[in-house]
Every structure is written in structure tokens, then in C-alpha cells.
């Protein structure tokens, strides 16, 4: 168990170092940082002095080491565009993105799982066919288009929901939330559905196929033979057994929800990290870009690690296998 965790952890560190190298590469190769800092009248001597002051003359390894040490402490420098520490900017924008992502993940789960169960149980039903067709649309339409269509329908034609922004937010000091005001909650509806739609259809299709598989197994047949109620079989035995892969996928998808929020955020002008990142690209704001890159990688790595550990805890076979391996090794 401990060897497994340590191995996983070391892999995670390696991934983070690789991403940090790419993020650091942004500074080195997307233009000369000095050019971004000085006016056009600055003399060569002043440029050299600044270069030395910032330690840009040091060997690559030393500079990279410094970058990693700072990054570990959460310091990514000052945003060229906002003139504030990047970590402050991210802390300001993080609540908006996390709120959106978590609501989207909940929608995806709470709607996707029941739809999957239903379509799994009633394979030929009319409603199942409707769900399956809709899910095909959800998978194949790009997020951008879904967002624009929702805006057109609910924002422009029906005028039920706001078309952009986060509405009024309540500042709790360490967190800003839109869930506590009517306009904030209304503003959350369309972006979260847009973001959830792809994951929702994915979960639905996954649950459906898992259900179909499980329903064919011997222990379900045995349960039926025992005369258990349909309800107990479907939800007590079948669904429970489908959930292991669902948990894995959902966990992994949470990372991509956060990362893919970029598109949804830019369609709805949602003031989260994704929008910050898009604007940073337009302005070639390298400190923000590299911090975002590192942070998303960190999210993925942490979620992966947790999922691996959960999987290990949930699935007894994995545990046995690894102890066997451990004994032989």
C-alpha cells in the first residue's frame, strides 16, 4: 500500500516538474522578457543591468530551480497586464471557476446517472431513444455552439436568464459566491448547463453500458431467482456495481471540467480563471499563463492521485494483486 502511494506520488512529482519546465519555457522562448518590461527608449546598458538584476544571465538549471522553488511557494511573479501578484489574481478568480465547475459536475451526475439507469433498464423504451438521441447531440455539438444557442433561446428570445457575467456576488472574505443572490444563481444556470452537457451525456452512456453488462451477470440472475424485488435488484445490486468506473471517470472528468471551463467562461464572460487565461494569451501575459498551466496540471495530478487511492480502497481485487506482487517482490 505504502509503496503504491510512494510510487504514485513520485510519478506525480515528475509530471509536475515536466509541466513546470514547459511553463518556464514560456518565459524563455515567448519573446524576450526584458522587451516586455522596458520602454523603447531604454538603453542597452540599462537593459543589461535589468537582465542581471532579474537573474536572467544565470545558467538554465539555476533559473529553472529558482522558478520551481518560487512556484512551490505559490509565487509566479507579477502579471504584466494587471500589475499584481499572479497568485492574488488566481485567488480572486478561483471561486468563480470552482463554483461553476462543481455545479456543472453535480448537474452531470444528478441528471446523467438516473438517465443512464433508465436507458439501461428500458432499452427499447421511447423515452430511452429520446435520451440517446439527445445525448448524441450533447456529445457532438461543440461547447461554444451550445452556449451561444442557450444564450439565444433563454437570454435573447425568452429573456429569462442573463446572457453574461456572474450577477451579484456575496463576498465572504475568502470566497465570493453567486449562489446566495437571485441574480447570481440565475447567472449560474446557463454556463453550468453548457459545461455539464458533455460530461452528462458521457456519464449517462457509461452508466447505461455498465448497467447492461451487470444485468447480464450471474449474480443478478441469481438475485432474480431468489425473488428479490426489481427495485432492490436494480438499485441495490446492479447500480452499486456500476458505480466504481463511474466514480473513476467522474473524478477524472472534474479536472477536465475545470480545464475546459475556458471555453464556457469566454462565451458567458464568466470572470473565472479560464477567462483570465484567455485574456493573458491575448496580452502575452506570461506569468499568468505559466501559473495557470501549473495549476491545472496540479489539479489533474491531485485528482488522479485521489482517484487512484479511492480505486485502491474500493476494489478489493487490486489490493490482493498488489500484496501478491509485494510478497513476490
Amino acid at each position: 500500500m505504502i509503496a503504491f502511494i510512494i510510487r504514485r506520488f513520485l510519478q506525480s512529482v515528475l509530471v509536475m516538474l515536466t509541466v513546470a519546465l514547459i511553463a518556464f519555457g514560456l518565459f524563455r522562448y515567448v519573446g524576450d522578457p526584458i522587451n516586455n518590461m522596458v520602454g523603447q527608449d531604454t538603453s542597452l546598458q540599462e537593459r543589461e543591468a535589468l537582465r542581471e538584476g532579474l537573474g536572467l544571465d544565470d545558467p538554465f538549471v539555476v533559473q529553472f530551480g529558482r522558478f520551481v522553488v518560487n512556484a512551490v511557494q505559490g509565487e509566479f511573479g507579477i502579471s504584466y497586464r494587471h500589475r499584481r501578484p499572479v497568485e492574488d489574481l488566481i485567488a480572486e478568480r478561483l471561486p468563480a471557476t470552482l463554483e461553476l465547475s462543481i455545479v456543472a459536475a453535480l448537474i452531470a451526475l444528478l441528471v446523467g446517472v438516473p438517465m443512464g439507469v433508465y436507458t439501461g433498464l428500458h432499452r427499447e423504451g421511447f423515452l430511452s431513444r429520446v435520451f440517446m438521441t439527445l445525448s448524441l447531440i450533447g456529445v457532438s455539438l461543440p461547447t461554444f455552439l451550445i452556449g451561444i444557442l442557450l444564450i439565444l433561446l433563454f437570454g435573447v428570445v425568452l429573456r429569462w436568464l442573463p446572457t453574461f457575467g456572474r450577477g451579484d456576488v456575496v463576498d465572504l472574505g475568502w470566497w465570493t459566491t453567486g449562489l446566495l443572490t437571485v441574480s447570481g444563481a440565475k447567472a449560474l444556470i446557463m454556463p453550468s448547463i453548457t459545461l455539464a452537457l458533455f460530461q452528462m451525456t458521457l456519464i449517462m452512456r457509461l452508466v447505461r453500458s455498465e448497467m447492461l453488462e451487470v444485468l447480464r451477470t450471474d449474480y443478478i440472475k441469481f438475485a432474480r431467482a431468489r425473488g428479490l424485488a426489481n427495485r432492490a435488484i436494480n438499485f441495490g445490486h446492479a447500480l452499486k456495481n456500476t458505480l466504481v468506473p463511474v466514480i473513476t471517470i467522474t473524478g477524472l472528468q472534474l479536472g477536465s471540467i475545470i480545464a475546459f471551463a475556458i471555453i464556457t467562461e469566454s462565451v458567458f464572460q464568466w470572470p473565472g480563471m479560464g477567462l483570465l487565461f484567455i485574456q493573458a494569451i491575448n496580452e502575452v501575459d506570461i506569468p499568468v499563463m505559466s501559473a495557470y498551466l501549473c495549476m491545472i496540471a496540479l489539479f489533474f495530478v491531485i485528482i488522479n492521485l485521489i482517484v487512484d487511492l479511492l480505486y485502491y480502497a474500493v476494489d478489493p481485487r487490486l489490493r490482493i494483486d498488489s500484496t501478491v506482487v509485494g510478497r513476490h517482490g
Binding site: N35, G39, G77, Y80, R81, R83, P162, T163, L276, V284
Partner: protein, 531 residues
């Protein structure tokens, strides 16, 4: 429980804000980006300066029709060609309550000359300022500068005491990282009709009416909420849904939608910006061409051939949906010095173009690369694509390199040694005067004086240089116009650049809202009247 009380208080505050909002007039608008910084001297860029023009003011200002009007200066006179005496307005207050005096003007001018300033060129128009009394100053210029009062529109005045207290004595450039302060980039204290009460860069700005403003303005707006919305589709949808009173720019292809929709209409007019093409006439060999050992653009016939190959009417009809004004001059009709008699574009004549190329020794044309921005001007990339197609018809094979503006400008500007052979650029003279165009775009490049800094192709004719410096010092309007005409005529005969058109201003406005659409694409809250 304390937590819940906090929520209740927050809710109560929201409700309160709403009930106040019922009688207070709130103007909501959106643009595609945000002001880069609140520092009035940090960046010389149209949108940032226009946005700040509601908060800060210069000695002079532009009216809705771009006429020069007095602002913080009540009146001014020239006592010699290089001496100006400004009478400053009395009783003007800054937002923090401080009085506006001559010291603030002198301080602000000196601030434009500091390291982080992007207004150094404007600051350099003044040699010295002497304080005669608290509300009179004498300004000396290095040479005669008849357009000084126009240039001062964009030189905003800060409160000396406020800047000193907050360690903001030096201009703060948004281009710099951590080498200068940041207080003035994030806070504002001007004399304008609106104060910034809340600002989250790239998310939202809230302005409140300043009750002690010195002038009666027609606006009835109490509060302004500005949101940058970068996606065109979202911006248009937000306007259509009634959440905004004004949004710009609106893509020209969406004008129909706005016209057909209830409650909103497009507001359009010609912008003072001229879009043009430039050619590298400086290098002995083009950086990106199959012709080695010589530069085809040094031959007048090749430049003429390019001019006659362009079908400006087709660009207007097919790409700009009829909403552009084809141009034969480097300045728009709104610009001081524009002469309609010279504005006839080069005739579209591909046969003549081919003949000229053959005469110049390129019967089969040649190849080169064109640089083009793709998110700076209205339909910029599509214009470039059309140009590529038109040139292909006369045998010139053009590779198009269209990039976002940050990459494009980084490649073609002086800082990168003008790395381009053929490019598209747009220009609005900030002083609304032709001399600005001559001085920045048409005179020979000079590293010392910074003249011709945006003459990316290095067009150079000493006669134009001479005329330009005469124009700079000429105070008689008729004589000045003659000199301007002469300079533009020479440039036109030389085919120094290829003017294309004035692009349209494209705003969308909610019905009942009155605004003034200035030809420099600046939204002045002073002219906004809500129903």
C-alpha cells in the same frame, strides 16, 4: 449564526442597492476589451484614453463633433509662435476634494516625461511651463507647434498632492512588470464628471457621478457599469437581451439583426481611422521575396502596379457590406487638412497593372509575404485575403501571414527592426490633424527624433520631410492647407502607401438612449442621456 447574519446583511444590502437603483439612472455598456490601466500617462491607446477621459481631463477637450473646446483651461493665447499662455479654470475640484491649480498642470506635464510614461512624445512638445499665478501658466515649446492645444486634449491632469501622498509621482506603464509603482494604475482621482468607485480589471468597472463637477453636462446618468465582453456573439446577445444600453464594436454582419430586433438599433458612421497598405521601400533586398539582389518596391512602376491592382469598391461591397468609405488619402474627412479634391483612389485597372509590372521587369510577377493583424481592425484579415486574391490576378503571388495583434505588432514595429515587406495598418491621428500623420507615417525614419516611427516601409522623400516641418510651424490656416496638399500630392504621386478605406464605427444602442458617436470611436459619458 454569525454566518447567516452576514448573508442576511449582504442580501439586505443588495435589496437596498436595487431600491436605490430604481430612481438612480444606471447606464450599462460593454466593449470588446478593458482599459489597460488607470494611469492616465501609462498607455497612449485610444480606448484606454477614451475610458479615462470620463474621469480625468486635459486643459482642452473635444466636443461630440471633435471640435476643440476649453476644458481645464478657460482660454489660451499665443504671445509668440513658441509661447502659449493658458488661463486655468477656477473653482475646479478633484474627486478627493483638492483644488485644481497650476501646480497640478506642471506636475502632470513632468510626469509624462518620466520613465514609465507612454506620453513622452506629447510631453516633449513642451519645453517648459512657468507658473504666472495659481491659475495662469506660460508654456514654451521647442519650436512653433500650432496643434499644441489639440495635443493637450490627451494629456490628462492629475492631482499633485494625491500622487505624492500615494507614491505615484512617476508614470506607471502597463508594459512594465515590477519596476515601478502601481497605485495610479489601480486608482483614479481626476476632475472629470465621473469617479471610478469599483474596478476589477477585465471584469467590471463602476463609475459614479461626481457631484462637484465644474460644468453642466447634458447627461442624466448617475451610475455607469462597464463590462468588457470579448466574444462578439455574447456582446451582441447581451445587447439584444436588453441587459445593456450600448455595446461596441458590433460585427458589420450583425447590423441586419440589430435593425430587425425590437428595442435596439445599430449606430454607425465613418471612423476617423484610415486603413492602408505599406511596402518596404528601404531595404536593398526584400526580407521575404523570391527576387534577390534588388527590391522591386524601389521601382515606382511596381508600386503603381500594386495600386492599380486593388479593387477598393469590391472590398467595400463584399467585405465591409457597403459600410466603408474607400479612400485616396492617408487622412479621413474628419481630419484637419483633408482635401476632398485629393481623395480620389487610384483607379482599378488590372491590365495597366500588368503592363507596369512588365515594364518594370516582372512580366510574370514575383512572390512576397504580407503581414496582417487578425484582431485589430474591422475585418482586417479578410481585407488582406482579398488583397492577396487581387494581386494574384496580376501575377504577384502573396503569402499571407495573419496574426493576433500582439504578435503582429511585435514583428513589424521599430522594436523588431521593421520586419516586414508588405503590411496592413490603420491610423487615427490623436490630434485630429494631418501633421500627426505626416510626422508619424510619411516622413523619412529618423532614429534620433523618432520621426516617421510608424513609417514601417521606410518611404522617404526629403521634399515631404521639408513640407512636414513647415506645416508643423505654420500658423496661417490657408498657407498650412496648401503645404499639406502639396505634401499629400507628392506622397500620392510616389505611391508611398496604398490607402484602402475609412472603416465604419459600429455601435449598437438600446432605443431611447441618446449618445454621441465620436469619429475617434470614443464614448464620452457627458453626452449619454437615458430615457
Amino acid at each position: 449564526m454569525r454566518f447567516r447574519n452576514g448573508i442576511l446583511a449582504a442580501l439586505a444590502a443588495t435589496v437596498l442597492a436595487f431600491s436605490q437603483g430604481a430612481d438612480a439612472k444606471t447606464f450599462k455598456w460593454a466593449f470588446q476589451g478593458d482599459a489597460q490601466s488607470l494611469d492616465p500617462h501609462g498607455l497612449n491607446e485610444t480606448f484606454s484614453l477614451g475610458y479615462l477621459g470620463n474621469v480625468y481631463e486635459g486643459l482642452t477637450a473635444y466636443s461630440a463633433n471633435l471640435e476643440l473646446i476649453p476644458a481645464l483651461a478657460e482660454s489660451w493665447e499665443t504671445t509668440s509662435p513658441t509661447t502659449w499662455v493658458f488661463k486655468l479654470r477656477q473653482g475646479v475640484k478633484f474627486h478627493n476634494g483638492n483644488d485644481f491649480t497650476a501646480d497640478d498642470v506642471i506636475f502632470s506635464w513632468k510626469r509624462t516625461l518620466t520613465e514609465g510614461s507612454d506620453q513622452k512624445v506629447r510631453g516633449a512638445l513642451i519645453k517648459s511651463i512657468t507658473k504666472v499665478d495659481d491659475h495662469t501658466i506660460r508654456v514654451e515649446t521647442p519650436g512653433p507647434i500650432p496643434t499644441l492645444a489639440r495635443e493637450l486634449v490627451w494629456l490628462y491632469i492629475m492631482d499633485k498632492e494625491w500622487a505624492e501622498t500615494n507614491n505615484a509621482v512617476e508614470a506607471e506603464s502597463p508594459k512594465e512588470a515590477d519596476t515601478s509603482g502601481k497605485f495610479a494604475s489601480l486608482n483614479a482621482n481626476g476632475t472629470g464628471p465621473f469617479m471610478i468607485v469599483e474596478r476589477q480589471p477585465d471584469v467590471k468597472s463602476v463609475f459614479k457621478r461626481f457631484n462637484n463637477y465644474w460644468k453642466d453636462i447634458k447627461s442624466n446618468v448617475d451610475e455607469v457599469i462597464f463590462t468588457p465582453i470579448s466574444q462578439d456573439a455574447t456582446r451582441v446577445a447581451a445587447l439584444l437581451s436588453g441587459e445593456l444600453d450600448l455595446a461596441y464594436p458590433i460585427p458589420v454582419q450583425d447590423w441586419d439583426r440589430l435593425t430587425k430586433a425590437d428595442g435596439v438599433s445599430p449606430l454607425t458612421g465613418p471612423e476617423a481611422r484610415t486603413i492602408f497598405l505599406g511596402m518596404d521601400q528601404d531595404r536593398d533586398e526584400l526580407l521575404s521575396s523570391n527576387i534577390k539582389g534588388k527590391n522591386p518596391f524601389k521601382d515606382l512602376r511596381v508600386r503603381q502596379a500594386f495600386a492599380h491592382a486593388l479593387n477598393l469598391d469590391a472590398i467595400k461591397e463584399k467585405i465591409m457590406r457597403g459600410a466603408a468609405t474607400p479612400s485616396g488619402l492617408m487622412v479621413a474627412p474628419q481630419i484637419n487638412g483633408h482635401n476632398p479634391a485629393l481623395n480620389q483612389p487610384y483607379a482599378y485597372d488590372p491590365a495597366k497593372s500588368k503592363r507596369l509590372l512588365a515594364e518594370a521587369g516582372y512580366p510574370d510577377g514575383f512572390e512576397l509575404t504580407m503581414d496582417c493583424p487578425n484582431n485589430r481592425y474591422v475585418n482586417d484579415e479578410r481585407i488582406c485575403q482579398a488583397v492577396v486574391g487581387m494581386l494574384a490576378k496580376v501575377g504577384v503571388k502573396v503569402d499571407l501571414l495573419a496574426q493576433p495583434k500582439s504578435k503582429y505588432f511585435a514583428k513589424v514595429l521599430a522594436q523588431n527592426d521593421y520586419d516586414t515587406s508588405f503590411y496592413l495598418l490603420g491610423w487615427t491621428p490623436g490630434s485630429i490633424d494631418s501633421h500627426n500623420v505626416l510626422q508619424n507615417l510619411l516622413v523619412c525614419r529618423n532614429k534620433e527624433t523618432k520621426a516617421g516611427q510608424f513609417n514601417l516601409g521606410g518611404y522617404c522623400n526629403p521634399k515631404v520631410d521639408e513640407l512636414s516641418s513647415q506645416i508643423g510651424g505654420e500658423t496661417d490656416p490657408d498657407k498650412r492647407q496648401e503645404l499639406i496638399d502639396a505634401a499629400f500630392q507628392i506622397h500620392k504621386d510616389d505611391v508611398g502607401h496604398l490607402p484602402i478605406h475609412q472603416q465604419p464605427l459600429s455601435w449598437g444602442v438600446r432605443d431611447g438612449v441618446t449618445v454621441a458617436q465620436r469619429a475617434d470611436n470614443v464614448l464620452d459619458f457627458r453626452n449619454v442621456v437615458l430615457p
